[in-house]
């Protein structure tokens, strides 16, 4: 009855099917096949990536929970834990930008509160095609309002993120959402189904025919049949999720439940089998008891549905009444749909018949892992040498063109649609290097940065991977935060193509190496493959989310210049590096390398110096140098201030002026400080063996830059501000 066509539809290969038959010693029925197809999909099984992800360092003295649960957990002292994770919702966001992005937020929030943590911040990493195309504009508009619509309504601040534009994302935008939660250390919950006979509860929205095959969709390329796949998009209900959030946190706070798991991708199938597999138990459920939104749903449909805002809970029998009372208070049903067994099987009944009987370990753990072929992919690694790039005749217009390019321009149009202040903890608002969330009743704060430069990873995935980690950590260090842990979302093309697999392997190795150097554990993440449409793949895009700790929130500083007359110092050394820069891409239309070199030891020293200087209170501001180099960093330091302020810069370094201004040499931070504090900083820098240069002072109405006495530009800061500030709104015709 299960023929070749059926297998293809379920994305299961002949070999995998053979393996399934071996494992269960018979032919599966269609519902069972559906279950395997979900759980053995790339999205759930990580079959192509597993062998590589093993390279990440995952332990450390603060790690409470590493990869393997809904989210990672890090001890932050005071009996508290930071719970965080990042997820992609790329495909749904292209098909239906608003709902796709909204349900992406809903999904990652559930991952966090499932662990017993209250979500305290989300960040989003977005990549679109160029805004010159109306379709890209409407995708961006939809995605941003979808994230806003869900996050604002549920009351979790969206405090930061990143947004890039490149033609490779035109048919395949990337929407990655990160969420951070705060939990009491002794009150973390896991996806467990323990204790034979304990009831299994279903809570939340009713099940409909939503997103059937969603997980398998996320695991295959887009093709001509897009239309057909469309109905798989779900509509989110943030109100329901808010109720679910409050009720779940309440039953966990009261310790009324034993285990809990959200029904995200792969819904009931994933939650039942994973909870049982994690505990070495079995689960038995009766589909007739599942709250259903639509009539006549088959067991196949119910098991595979990806309806949103649902959770599965296991509780002790004697606590059931109390659990149900809490949910009732929040106008939610908590229905008993089955029980924990000791069979290690998932057994599903419908109308009195057993319709599924599968060993959970086969479903959850025994999907084959593939060591896929890799083949170096380096068409553009052919380095440009400086002589290929003509020196510009003048710099003013280049500077302004950079400042107003959507990738570098002010993202306020985006983040003012997000409620980024709710919960009254946002100590650093969007726009800075990282977001900072203070923790009430302590002196502490958590800082978060999302980072990924796909131009680098396109040219050189390994170095690009390293730089992504370094930059995310540098962002935290600029606010004085010590990096504690990492999560990552790896967005790549089709892993069955050796070039893509090579990019993946290289990027993972680079990330792993950097994490080891910084001694920050990877506590979780997500892999999104098949980001291609009609054969064209996105640039390899790893997005790193790093969480750091600030011990004394009063020492916090921000990136913008503070007052006139302050001394401006560049920490780190500038090399003549133009490869893979935003400047080459924007001004010379070159997307080629080499990427800047990175020495992780130097990077660590620079960051440590910055954190130390901040904790000693000798810095007025600190801002890291990244896309757009020194020129853009300076511009931001001037215009991020409530009323923009100018500066006078004098550069005396013997390298090409464009490399000096727009090159993206790593491991550099621009700081400003009161003149009286100069000596203290220099002493620290010398002790840390970090090169530094006094490059100018703050003040005036212009951004004035000279190189060896020659004026490079002298532009009113107000003009820079307008171009930077209005660029994106003007694209959307919003006044």
């Amino acid at each position: 009855m299960i023929d070749k066509h059926t297998l293809e539809e379920h994305g299961i290969t002949q070999e995998e099917y053979q393996e399934i038959k071996n494992l269960i010693q018979r032919e599966p029925n269609l519902t069972e096949l559906g279950i395997f197809s979900l759980m053995w999909s790339e999205h759930c099984s990580y079959k192509s990536s597993k062998v590589h992800l093993k390279k990440f360092p995952t332990s450390g003295k603060n790690v409470i929970q590493g990869p393997g649960e809904n989210a990672g957990v890090i001890d932050i002292g005071d009996g508290l834990a930071a719970v965080f994770k990042i997820e992609s919702h790329n495909h749904p966001s292209f098909i239906e930008p608003y709902q796709g992005a909204a349900t992406g937020v809903g999904g990652i929030l559930r991952d966090i509160f499932t662990m017993g943590a209250r979500p305290i911040a989300t960040l989003d990493s977005l990549r679109f095609g160029p805004l010159s195309h109306p379709k890209n504009k409407s995708v961006m508009e939809g995605v941003v309002s979808g994230i806003a619509g869900y996050g604002n309504s549920i009351g979790v601040p969206t405090v930061g993120g990143e947004t890039y534009f490149d033609p490779c994302y035109s048919l395949n935008p990337l929407v990655n959402v990160f969420c951070l939660g705060l939990a009491k250390k002794e009150n973390i919950f896991y996806a467990r189904a323990e204790g034979k006979g304990n009831p299994v509860l279903y809570v939340g929205s009713k099940t409909g025919r939503d997103g059937i095959h969603g997980a398998t969709m996320a695991s295959s390329e887009f093709g001509e049949d897009l239309e057909e796949k469309r109905p798989n998009v779900q509509v989110g209900d943030p109100f329901k999720e808010k109720l679910l959030l409050e009720a779940c946190l309440e039953v966990m706070e009261k310790k009324l439940v034993l285990g809990i798991q959200d029904m995200g991708a792969a819904g009931l199938t994933c939650s039942t089998t994973e909870m049982a597999a994690n505990s070495g138990t079995g689960i038995e459920i009766d589909l007739d008891l599942i709250p259903q939104r639509e009539k006549g749903m088959t067991p196949y449909e119910i098991m595979l549905s990806e309806s949103q805002e649902r959770m599965l809970i296991v509780a002790k029998k004697e606590k059931i009444k109390q659990v149900q009372k809490v949910f009732e208070r929040w106008d939610l049903d908590a229905v008993i749909i089955g029980k924990v067994t000791d069979t290690q099987n998932l057994k599903v009944f419908a109308k009195g018949q057993a319709v599924v009987d599968l060993p959970v370990s086969a479903v959850v753990h025994l999907c084959p892992a593939y060591q896929r072929e890799t083949k170096p992919h380096s068409p553009t690694q052919t380095a440009v040498c400086s002589s290929d790039v003509p020196l510009p005749e003048e710099y003013e217009s280049i500077f302004l063109q950079m400042v107003r390019s959507p990738g570098l321009a002010n993202k306020k149009w985006i983040f003012r649609q997000y409620d980024h202040m709710i919960q009254t903890n946002t100590a650093v608002l969007p726009g800075a290097d990282a977001a900072v969330i203070r923790i009430k009743d302590t002196q502490k704060a958590l800082a978060i940065s999302l980072d990924g430069n796909s131009l680098y990873t396109y040219v050189d995935p390994r170095t690009g991977g390293k730089i992504a980690v370094a930059e995310a950590c540098r962002n935290l260090s600029c606010l004085g935060a010590q990096p504690l842990g990492v999560t990552n979302c790896l967005n790549f093309g089709n892993p069955e193509k050796p070039e893509i697999m090579w990019q993946f392997k290289e990027a993972v190795e680079g990330i792993a190496q950097a994490c080891r150097a910084f001694q920050i554990p990877v506590t979780g993440g997500n892999v999104s493959f098949y980001n291609e449409t009609e054969g064209a793949s996105v640039d390899p895009t790893p997005v790193l989310g790093v969480v750091g700790l600030i011990n004394n929130v009063d020492t916090l500083i921000s990136p913008e210049f503070k007052e006139a007359g302050d001394c401006i110092v560049l920490l780190g050394e500038t090399k003549e590096e133009l490869g893979a820069s935003e400047y080459l891409k924007q001004i010379h239309s070159k997307k080629c390398g080499p990427v800047p070199e990175i020495d992780l030891e130097i990077e660590k020293r620079v960051q440590k110096l910055c954190r130390e200087a901040i904790s000693q209170g000798i810095l007025q501001s600190a801002h890291d140098l990244s896309e757009g180099g020194l020129a853009h960093c300076l511009a931001e330091c001037c215009v991020l201030r409530k009323t923009p302020i100018g500066c006078q810069i004098q550069l005396d370094q013997q390298i090409r002026t464009d490399a000096l201004l727009f090159g993206e040499t790593c491991s550099r931070i621009l700081v400003s400080l009161k003149n009286k504090d100069k000596d203290a900083l220099f002493a620290l820098a010398k002790k840390a063996s970090v090169p530094f240069a006094i490059i100018g002072k703050t003040g005036g109405k212009n951004i004035f830059v000279r190189h060896f006495g020659e004026t490079i530009w002298d532009i009113p800061v107000q003009k820079v501000y307008s171009l930077w500030n209005n660029s994106i709104p003007d694209t959307f015709h919003v006044k």
Partner: protein
């Protein structure tokens, strides 16, 4: 000339707004309510144009602009 386009979620798609209204009405004691679905309505005022042109253009803009065919359906009528 006036045309009315009604846009609503397809039957199989969750309609949280309709559900919220339904619950509110039931709580208020309107127990004769079985179900509620909420949608959008657009009233388009048109320049004078032929019936054929309307028959051609209205479905086009309803499909392309006013609704998202992935999750929504539409119907339309001339009202004036």
């Amino acid at each position: 000339m006036k045309v009315r386009v009604l846009v609503s979620f397809k039957e199989s798609v969750l309609d949280p707004q309709g559900q919220a209204v339904k619950n509110a009405l039931l709580t208020l004691g309107y127990d004769f309510i079985e179900d509620v679905r909420q949608g959008k309505i657009f009233e388009l005022e048109l320049k004078d144009m032929s019936r054929e042109k309307i028959e051609e253009m209205i479905p086009e803009i309803s499909h392309k602009v006013l609704s998202n065919p992935i999750i929504e359906k539409f119907e339309w009528e001339v009202i004036d």
